[in-house]
Amino acid sequence: MPPLVHYIAHRLAAALLTLTGAILFLFVIIQFVPGDMISILLGPRATPELRAEFAQRMGLDRSIPEQIWLFFSRAITGDLGTDVISNRKILDMILDVLPNSLQLAGAALLVSTVFGIALGCIAALKPGSTIDTVLGVVSVSFITTPAFVIAIFLLLIFSLQLHWLPVIGAGDPDDPLDRLSHLVLPAMAISITWIGYLARLIRASLLEVLSEQHVRMMRAYGVPEVRIVRHFALRLALVPMIAVMGIGVGDMISNAVFVEVIFARPGVGRLIYEAILLRNFPVVQAGILTTVLIYVTCNMLVDILNAVIDPRIARSLKQAA
């Protein structure tokens, strides 16, 4: 079996294992809630009938292993229960808002990658110049300002003051242009931090690659500098970036919560948040499981992408095995 296929299989198995662990972890932390578990999970609407219903559904009278099995199998099959407030299936609630969150995350990923790489390259090609210093300062400011602060300022300036872009919501589902205009500010808010981070990373990585012997070798063979940078150096320089994209996705998912709240945009993050305020834990739990699933999947995909671009990675796994 070629090393890459072996690697993919390995990563898939690892992801499934991690997911299992994460689900079990959620079960465990629920058990350790101080005080009356049902009251905390259901909140103020825990009438005796609802309590009985809930206890029955959770199998609280059964043994712990049975409870674990119930919890686990439901999570896997997507049986997330019914919302006591709206009486909708929680799975439907999630699926309703999931596309918005995915669009937001996807847009943010795209924007931050494109701009991060671009700025990083510009800085690396003219190290020590004014533009490099300026970009450096800008990058650091981007990284350090928290995303929700950026979101508020973007809202302030571009929506409230200049009225260029809409303030709240995700836009008319049938009008792609409208949806796009509602996507701009939230996506920017999330990506700005990551743009700064990637710009610095790419700059350092590219500078290092450009000083390596194989680049000199290409120069010695008369390969034009443009081609060296764009074709040969960049691919190698991007390897460390792919490695951190996994954490980047996690950061973006985290920041998406704030951004969805600030821009009143429907999404999984906002769903979790509002459920917490209403003390509606089943929805919170469903939302958490969804985001964990997305996160673990993205991490796995990033690892695989990493191995595709850098052939040394798959090989070291095979050797260690």
Partner: protein, 281 residues
């Protein structure tokens, strides 16, 4: 002692490190002295609401007429306290667990690694929100929740350091001489592990500040009447249409705090890197 002084000197010498150090000192002074130098932060005077900065109210007033300067200083104090406590706690717990895992090996090591991986498989804020939903909000809960988020990072580094140290000859020598495990940990592993962990800690402080502010902004962290930069921003955000001032003061302070600690942390890492790695016998 000289190593620490020379590290400080290196930080001072680098331009970004110097700026970071100055900003950090300024923020700390602001947090400590702010409330002392200004008006009572909790004094409500609704007739004075939404004032722009003046001599009396250096950052203006909020929606209830409270002085923003002292409230921001309070919030900064909360941010610094929580971040330092969280970082210290997660460093200690992570160090102990990581060292034990690295030394113990076998199933202990595997269990710890799996636990770390599980915690890391949650997007940070999501896990925090889940824990808050279950265990409630408030200062102490916030501490606990955010500490849990950071233990894996410190734990992994401690474990890696321990693993690389473990096979060094001087450890074997001590074991042969009969040194008890406890002493082995304290005298040999801890000093060597602590160095890089402290650098990691300094790089994490801005992250903790951001997470705390974010959670408080959502109302899931520090609760009123305690002030946090996050809650201040939230209050400001609610009244954005009426006045910018409540938002600006706290938002800018938050940005400066994270910027300053980031610059300082990076300068510390660059200065300490070669020095601390070679520490220990």
């Amino acid at each position: 002692m000289e190593t620490y002084l020379s590290i400080l000197r290196d930080i001072w010498r680098s331009p970004s490190g110097r700026i970071g150090l100055i900003m950090v000192i300024a923020i700390v002074l602001f947090a400590i002295l702010g409330p002392v130098l200004s008006v009572d932060p909790n004094k409500i005077a609704v007739k004075d609401r939404f004032q722009a900065p003046s001599v009396v109210h250096l950052l203006g007033t909020d929606n209830l007429g409270r002085d923003l300067f002292s409230r921001t200083a309070q919030g900064t104090r909360a941010a610094l306290t929580i971040s330092l406590l969280v970082v210290a706690l997660s460093l200690l717990i992570g160090a102990v667990v990581g060292i034990l895992a690295g030394m113990g090996g076998g199933w202990v090591d595997r269990a710890v690694t799996v636990l770390f991986d599980i915690i890391s498989s949650y997007p940070p804020v999501i896990l925090a929100m889940g824990l808050v939903a279950l265990y409630g909000a408030g200062f102490t809960n916030l501490l606990f929740v955010v500490t849990v988020l950071f233990i894996p990072q410190f734990g992994r580094m401690a474990r890696a350091q321990t693993l690389s140290l473990r096979h060094q000859p001087f450890i074997d020598a001590e074991r042969i001489l009969g040194l008890p495990v406890r002493k082995l940990v304290w005298r040999h592993f801890m000093p060597n592990v602590l160095g890089p962990l402290i650098v990691l800690a300094s790089m994490n402080i801005p992250v903790v500040i951001t997470i705390e502010a974010g959670l408080s902004f959502l109302g899931l962290g520090v609760q009123p009447p305690q002030a946090s930069l996050g809650t201040l921003i939230k209050d400001g955000y609610t009244f954005l249409n009426q006045s910018w001032w409540p938002t600006i003061g706290s938002a800018v302070t938050l940005a400066l705090a994270t910027l300053g600690s980031t610059l300082f942390g990076e300068a510390l890492r660059d200065a300490a890197d070669p020095k601390l790695k070679g520490h220990g016998r």
